[in-house]
C-alpha cells in the first residue's frame, strides 16, 4: 500500500452504511450478534429490528456453508430434558449446541414437549387439566413467549382432543399456531367437524375459523408436527357412505387458511385403515406405516401428487439384530439427505439410507451415537434471531 497518497478523508468504520454492517453481521455466529447489541445504540437498533432479523434468517436458510442442523429432543440420565443441535453434514454428526429445558417449575403440573420447529423457533405444548399451554421459544436468543389461552377450553367445551401445528406464512410474513379441536362430548364420526382456531404472532391473539371449515373427520393423536410446503399435515379418518372408515392426510395451508385432503397409497390388504403417521421427507411428505411386524416407509415423490406415492422400504420390526443386538422401535423422521432416522429399542438413534441400492445388505446404516428416549423428536433446524425484537413474558422460566 503506498502511503504517500494522502487519503484526507479517513472513513471511520462507524459510518459504514447499514446494509454493509448487515452484510458483515450475517456472517457472525448468533452469540456474537446478540453480544454486539451492546456495542452502541446504532448497532442495537440495527440488530433488534424485524428487517435485519428477516435478512439474517434468509441468509441462514440459503447459505451453502455446510452447516445443516438437526434438532433432537433428548433426556439426560437424571431425567432432565434437554435439546441438542447436531451438524447433519459433519461425518461425526457432531453436536453444535445444547439447550436445557427452559422452565424452572417442577413437573408436577405436567411438562412441555416440543412438537416441532420452524425458522429457529420451537413450538412447545403442555397438557394440564385438559387444556393446552403453548409456547414459542427461540433458544438461540433466549426468548420465550407464552401464548394466551385459546378459545376452546375444557371449562367451556368439556372434553376435547386437540391437534396442534405451527409454521411460518410467507404471505403475511407471520407465524401462526393452529389448533384443530375435536369436541368429544357428542362426537359422531359422520357429523362432527373439528373446530379450528388460529393464533398469529403479530396480533398476539386467537381467532376461530368460520370459513374454509375442516371436513368432517377425526384426527389421530400425534406428538410431532409435519410442516412442509407451507402446510401442516395430520393423519385423519372419515366414514364413507358404505360405513367404511378411511384414513387420509388432512392438510392445512397456512397462508390460504384452507383444508384439503391427500389420499394415502393403495397397498395390498389395505382396507382403508393404516396404523401410521406422516413425516417431512425432503420437500414432500412420507408415511410411516406399521403392519404385520414391518415398518413400511412410503414417500410422496411429488408433493400432493397421489400417484407419486412410492414405497421406499420395509423394515423388520421384529429383527432382534437389526443393528448390533437391537431391533427397531420407531421411525422418527428424515435427514435432509433422505436418510430415515430410527430409534432402536434401548434408545440408540441410527440413520439408514433407503434410496441407493436395492439390495438390503448393502444399505448404509449410520450410528448417530445419540441415545434417545420415549419422547425424542427430530426436526430440521436453522439458527435465527426471531423473537429477538419482541418483549416476552417468560415468567416462570430461566
Amino acid at each position: 500500500m503506498s502511503d504517500n497518497k494522502t487519503t484526507n478523508r479517513i472513513i471511520p468504520w462507524g459510518s459504514l452504511p447499514d446494509e454493509i454492517l448487515t452484510n458483515i453481521f450475517v456472517f457472525l455466529p448468533i452469540k456474537s450478534i446478540i453480544i454486539f447489541t451492546s456495542v452502541s445504540k446504532a448497532w442495537k437498533s440495527l440488530i433488534k429490528n424485524p428487517t435485519f432479523i428477516s435478512t439474517h434468517l434468509n441468509h441462514s436458510l440459503n447459505k451453502n456453508k455446510n452447516q445443516n442442523l438437526l434438532f433432537i429432543g433428548l433426556c439426560s440420565e437424571n431425567q432432565k430434558e434437554f435439546y441438542a443441535l447436531h451438524n447433519e453434514d459433519d461425518a461425526d454428526f457432531t453436536q453444535h449446541a445444547r439447550f436445557d429445558y427452559p422452565f424452572r417449575a417442577p413437573p408436577y403440573n405436567g411438562k412441555y414437549i416440543v412438537l416441532g420447529t420452524c425458522n429457529g423457533l420451537l413450538f412447545l405444548s403442555k397438557v394440564f387439566h385438559g387444556d393446552n399451554s403453548l409456547c414459542l421459544w427461540n433458544p438461540c436468543v433466549g426468548k420465550l413467549l407464552k401464548l394466551p389461552s385459546p378459545n376452546i377450553t375444557y371449562a367451556k367445551h368439556r372434553r376435547f382432543r386437540a391437534s396442534l401445528g405451527f409454521g411460518f406464512d410467507p404471505k403475511t410474513k407471520d407465524y401462526k399456531v393452529i389448533r384443530v379441536v375435536t369436541l368429544l362430548e357428542s362426537f359422531d364420526l359422520e357429523r362432527t367437524r373439528p373446530q379450528v382456531e388460529i393464533y398469529t404472532l403479530s396480533t398476539g391473539q386467537w381467532r376461530t375459523i368460520t370459513t374454509g371449515l375442516a371436513p368432517i373427520c377425526a384426527l389421530y393423536w400425534t406428538d410431532r408436527q409435519t410442516f412442509i410446503s407451507g402446510a401442516l399435515h395430520w393423519v385423519a379418518c372419515f366414514k364413507d357412505s358404505d360405513n367404511n372408515i378411511h384414513d387420509f392426510v388432512l392438510v392445512f395451508d397456512l397462508g390460504e387458511e384452507v383444508f384439503h385432503k391427500i389420499l394415502l397409497p393403495e397397498f395390498p390388504g389395505h382396507r382403508g385403515r393404516i396404523s401410521g403417521s406422516v413425516s417431512v421427507y425432503r420437500n414432500s411428505i412420507a408415511l410411516f406405516q406399521t403392519d404385520n411386524g414391518f415398518l413400511h416407509i412410503w414417500a410422496m415423490k411429488e408433493y400432493d401428487v397421489v400417484s407419486s406415492w412410492t414405497k421406499l422400504f420395509s423394515l423388520p420390526l421384529l429383527d432382534q439384530n437389526f443393528f448390533g443386538a437391537n431391533s427397531i422401535r420407531t421411525a422418527l423422521g428424515f435427514r435432509r439427505n433422505g436418510e430415515v432416522i430410527l430409534k432402536l429399542n434401548g434408545g440408540r438413534l441410527i440413520s439408514v439410507d433407503l434410496e441407493t441400492p436395492e439390495d438390503p445388505d448393502t444399505r448404509e446404516i449410520k450410528d448417530l451415537r445419540i441415545m434417545g428416549y420415549e419422547e425424542t423428536i427430530v426436526d430440521y433446524y436453522v439458527e435465527s434471531l426471531v423473537l429477538l425484537d419482541k418483549a416476552t413474558n417468560s415468567e416462570d422460566t430461566y
Binding site: M1, S2, F25, P29, K31, S32, S38, S40
Partner: protein
C-alpha cells in the same frame, strides 16, 4: 466484470481516496477466488494475509469500493473477513476495532448485558 462502472468510479471526483492498491486488490479477486474456490485452507490464508497487510481503514475502502462496483463476491468476501476477525470477541474489542464509543446511558448497557448474560460466556479473551 462491469467495466463501465469501474471507469465511472475512477472518474468520480468524490472518490479521490481510491488508491491504486484498491483497484489491484479488488479486480484480481475474482480470478483468485475462482482458482482457490476448491481449497478452503488457502482461502483462510489469503484472508489472514489480507487482514495483516491491509489496515482496517483500507479494508473499509475495499468494502465500499466493492459495494459501489456492485461486486457481490468481493463484498461478501471482505465482509466475511471482517466477521471472522470480530466473531466471538468482546464488546470492548469490537469497539476498538471499529473506533466506536459507547453511547448508552449508564444503566442501559448493564441491562442489555443482563438480558443476554448467558451469551457472554465463552467469549475470547481480548
Amino acid at each position: 466484470m462491469k467495466f463501465c462502472t469501474v471507469k465511472q468510479y475512477f472518474d468520480d471526483e468524490n472518490n479521490n481516496n481510491v488508491t491504486n492498491g484498491i483497484a489491484t486488490t479488488v479486480i484480481p479477486l475474482p480470478n483468485k477466488h475462482l482458482k482457490i474456490k476448491a481449497n478452503n485452507k488457502e482461502m483462510e490464508q489469503y484472508e489472514q494475509e489480507l487482514l495483516r497487510n491491509v489496515m482496517p481503514q483500507e479494508l473499509t475502502k475495499l468494502i465500499l469500493a466493492a459495494n459501489y462496483l456492485n461486486f457481490k463476491e468481493a463484498l461478501d468476501f471482505f465482509c466475511r473477513t471482517v466477521a471472522n476477525a470480530i466473531q466471538n470477541k468482546s464488546v470492548d474489542y469490537v469497539r476498538k476495532f471499529f473506533g466506536l464509543e459507547s453511547d448508552f446511558e449508564p444503566g442501559e448497557e448493564e441491562k442489555l448485558c443482563k438480558e443476554f448474560a448467558w451469551s457472554f460466556e465463552g467469549v475470547d479473551e481480548d
